[in-house]
């Protein structure tokens, strides 16, 4: 017998559902049947490093900012968001299919290239595309499973970056994080967390800056002029292409100074958890 009241028991139960979701990830069908996939569940204080490491990235990438603010705010309010971390080994092919999807004629050439190169982006790589499909299907099953349990969720590359930076799932090459809960409608969609954090002008400028649209400028003789200024009497602005030392400097600072600073605080503690693994 018992009587559960309030919302705390629902928030606690998200963790149990996360375990069910982990089962779905492992059960997900594969095309190759040869892709190694691992799942971990992270919640409570152990989520703090991931949220913290997303912080600097959030300053330079808007999609990360949305994820960061949502996770940070829900966590700080004690709503107990849970992350299902999913990783796969995709940067080597043991298929001998020589299918060409990766850009090389043979798996052997791809493996040699992959050995000496790591992806220059945020999520790792290079990847065997068939293994990527297996990984993606597993991630999709995580999402589908979460929907089936009616828990708001979103699969996040931003969390995947945090997992990689901090050394979670150390044997895996590509990682994504499924953010789960808190138990209510529309946590990760239509982002109520972001209400009143941006003015109309900022929002408008961000749209123009991030999506160079045809309709934002006059057809120019090689130098298209912005037509969306409200202060039409002021000197015109033009669209153009240029290397931006400022943008690159901020990126460098974030990736090579701010992120590592946070990582060193937690790396040893996280690494220690994997010591006894086979």
């Amino acid at each position: 017998m018992g009587h559960l009241t309030g919302k705390a028991f629902c928030q606690e139960h998200v963790l149990e559902v996360a375990k069910n979701i982990a089962l779905a990830v492992h059960k997900a069908p594969q095309i190759t049947g040869k892709t190694e996939i691992e799942v971990e569940i992270i919640w409570g204080e152990d989520l703090e490093p991931i949220i913290e490491v997303m912080g600097p990235i959030a300053q330079v990438m808007q999609y990360v900012r949305w994820d960061y603010e949502t996770l940070k705010n829900t966590y700080e309010r004690g709503e107990n968001p849970v992350v299902v971390a999913i990783g796969a080994k995709t940067t080597r092919s043991n298929l001998a299919w020589d299918c060409g999807a990766c850009g090389f004629g043979t798996c052997r050439e791809f493996n040699a290239y992959a050995k000496e190169t790591r992806g220059g982006g945020q999520l790792g790589g290079p990847c065997c595309n068939w293994k990527t499909l297996d990984f993606s299907m597993a991630c999709d099953w995580a999402c589908a499973s979460a929907w089936q349990y009616r828990i708001d969720n979103r699969i996040m590359g931003s969390v995947g970056f945090g997992l990689t930076a901090l050394g979670f799932l150390p044997d895996m090459d590509v990682k994504l994080g499924l953010a789960l809960g808190p138990p209510r409608d529309l946590v990760y969609y239509s982002r109520e967390e972001m209400h009143k954090t941006m003015s109309y002008e900022e929002e408008k400028q961000a749209m123009i800056n991030s999506i160079p649209t045809n309709f934002a400028a006059f057809v120019g003789g090689g130098t298209p002029m912005y037509k969306t200024k409200d202060d039409w009497w002021a000197p015109p602005k033009f669209m153009g292409m240029a290397y931006s030392p400022e943008v690159m400097e901020v990126m460098q600072q974030v990736l090579f100074e701010q992120v590592p600073e946070i990582v060193v605080k937690y790396a040893d503690k996280i690494e220690a958890r994997y010591k006894d693994r086979k």
Partner: protein, 266 residues
């Protein structure tokens, strides 16, 4: 008014049984699987996508002739690589044993990448790995050169390939929910591409679907392309006919009987 009367006359019965293959009762069963495949396709379309960009196309294919053509194409592809031969030949049998085939393709992975510098394909922040290996101008990939050296004309945008994985994953999830058997096949996807299904896609995954007593995609024996239900049944037709031919009697005049035991005897 006529329509109204038809609506009032809502009554009927349907006999459904998977035996014998392609009989009316079996085709009625297949029509149920076709409905499931359509719902699987809905799920594929609502799967998560990088940037929410629509990039999924699909074909639903069914019919004895159609599946036979696809199975033969898989058998043709099977011999192109040592690693494909046996699994692909087995999978061709499974296609013949399927009710409906679903092709799911990604229309952007070879042509309009995510352009996010994610690095999954092996490239740098400017997606140079992809673009360096493609003919492109103005940031547009020229796909009008239809020649290709490999089975799949890579490199592909791996983030878009991930999207394809999400779409296929959701289709399979719905298959599980609807309790129809389904399995993702590379062989089927390659055959589909060559036959012109999902032809705007750079990569296609094939998902055969079936609702039969035995899941056609698991528990196969060795040399499945030689020993399978079709062959076993045909073998029975062959052997049993011969067994009849080599003996015979006029059943109207005499039928051999078991010898009578002592108790039964006079």
């Amino acid at each position: 008014m006529k329509k109204y009367e038809e609506d009032l006359n809502f009554r009927g019965e349907e006999y459904v049984c998977e035996w014998t293959p392609w009989s009316p009762q079996d085709i009625r069963r297949k029509k149920g699987v076709l409905e499931s495949a359509r719902m699987m396709l809905n799920s594929a379309l609502t799967a998560p996508l990088a940037g929410g960009v629509p990039s999924t196309e699909a074909h639903i294919v069914y019919g004895q002739e159609e599946l036979e053509t696809i199975a033969r194409k898989i058998e043709e592809i099977a011999h192109r690589k040592k690693a494909w031969k046996e699994p692909f030949l087995y999978e061709a049998v499974m296609i013949r044993d399927s009710d409906v085939v679903l092709f799911i393709g990604n229309t952007r992975c070879h042509e309009t990448p995510l352009d996010a510098g994610c690095g999954l394909c092996g490239g740098g922040l400017d997606c140079s790995y992809f673009y360096e290996r493609k003919t492109h101008r103005y940031g547009l990939v020229d796909t009008t050169d239809r020649r290709k050296e490999n089975q799949i004309d890579g490199p592909l945008c791996t983030a878009r390939v991930s999207d394809l994985g999400y779409a296929v994953g959701s289709a399979l999830w719905t298959a599980h929910t609807l309790m129809v058997d389904a399995r993702p096949f590379a062989s089927l996807g390659m055959a589909g591409m060559e036959l012109g299904y999902c032809r705007n896609s750079g990569m296609v995954v094939g998902v055969p679907v079936a609702a039969k007593a035995k899941n056609p995609y698991v528990d196969v024996n060795v040399d499945y392309h030689l020993i399978n239900m079709d062959k076993v049944l045909d073998n029975t037709r062959k052997i049993y006919q011969t067994a009849r031919i080599i003996r015979g009697f006029d059943y109207r005049k005499w039928i051999p009987k078991p010898a009578k035991t002592e108790e039964e005897g006079e």
